[in-house]
Symmetry: C2
Subunit: 221 residues, 2 copies
């Protein structure tokens, strides 16, 4: 139990998911990456992140590096998983503690990203640096198997939403279309959802009803 010669480094990275229109203007899952400015993997896209320094908490590193690169400051970052496989970095052992968050489209519009940042559709990523493809795949899998879609929808849509908006969240996360009528029926019987009595403004006629969840969802759990 004597402390070993220390050749292991600790890094912190963050996976951000947002719902944004794809090239056919349909909502899809997107995630931001930062171009690497040095070796290894110079020029490749990588998750926002950096080394853990002695005086920062893990989540502070996640929040700081995310802000510096993407301009995003999510109200809530959750620890996702720690990746530490021996062969994941070509320049020595690196243990990466990975955080994740879901952000709304208006948060992205307000953000001022750095020059080296680009958003990619989560189901169509380039060959990322290190094992970052594997990390995003893991995050996607966790998102898709989440029991509480209420939480996901709340993070992406905010407090109130139409049934059609809720369906687009489910479709974007699942990566395939859902039958609109079936979806409406299953949602109508959900005890978690209530009619707010309000409607979506700015729509011509028969404006759709706005709903909200009956409890305060936990953003990423």
């Amino acid at each position: 139990m004597t402390r070993p010669d220390n050749t292991i480094q600790v890094a912190v990275s963050t996976v951000i998911f947002a719902l944004r229109p794809d090239d056919q203007d349909l909502p899809a899952l997107w995630t931001p990456f930062v171009a690497r400015t040095r070796d290894p993997h110079l020029g490749r896209w990588a998750l926002p992140g950096g080394w853990l320094s002695e005086n920062e908490e893990l989540e502070e590193v996640a929040a700081r590096t995310l802000g510096e690169t993407t301009g995003l400051h999510p109200s809530y970052l959750e620890q996702l998983y720690t990746f530490g496989a021996r062969d994941r970095s070509p320049t020595g052992r690196v243990v990466s503690v990975v955080y994740w968050a879901l952000v709304r489209a208006d948060e992205i519009e307000r953000a001022e990203p750095g020059e080296n940042v680009q958003w990619f559709q989560a189901d169509n990523l380039p060959d990322l640096a290190f094992d970052h493809n594997r990390i995003v795949d893991y995050a996607l899998q966790r998102l898709r198997t989440k029991v509480e879609y209420a939480d996901i929808a709340h993070s992406f849509l905010g407090e109130t939403f139409t049934i059609a908006q809720l369906r687009t969240v489910h479709e974007a996360v699942l990566g395939h279309k859902l039958d609109a009528a079936n979806f409406r029926r299953s949602v109508a019987t959900s005890p978690d959802l209530v009619d707010t009595g309000e409607v979506l403004t700015g729509t011509p006629h028969r404006p759709p009803k706005l709903y909200r969840f009956t409890r305060t969802p936990n953003p990423t759990r």
Copy 2:
């Protein structure tokens, strides 16, 4: 992004939960600890674990240190959470990747533990080394909020079980008694549970039916 002077150490620890009789012979959650043989916290109880070495995978460290101390070799260890608060160790920054597993009573009976190992009831722990009380509390909370009690019961009880045995698992995890008749009713209507057609042997008359889950549960998720 230059690698910082490396003063941060990575450790791996494991929380094991088992269902064992308490002093009134009622099933309760127990977890094993190892007495520290050096400073800091000499003599205090700590989670089984050790330093990450450059040539071992995270889970290998968890499995090895667990085997060396408790004699347990769970078929499945899952990563629980990574604890890295600045102040969690008095002798420098330590990031601990924590694994967990649920084990059956017969696995403990077969195990050959080391001399410095002792099991404690999870809801009545001594003042542990470092932040290990906090780690066990976190693990307990995760266990209690797990959606799938089928998974927990399967890990503790094995393939088949009586309704009464299943109730003791729920009671031990929740830390309080449940109404037997209500529990039986709620379980009887569960689509996840099937009557095996067999009964518990070794009981005098009216031997209780044995049930199993309809799917293969995932031990700690």
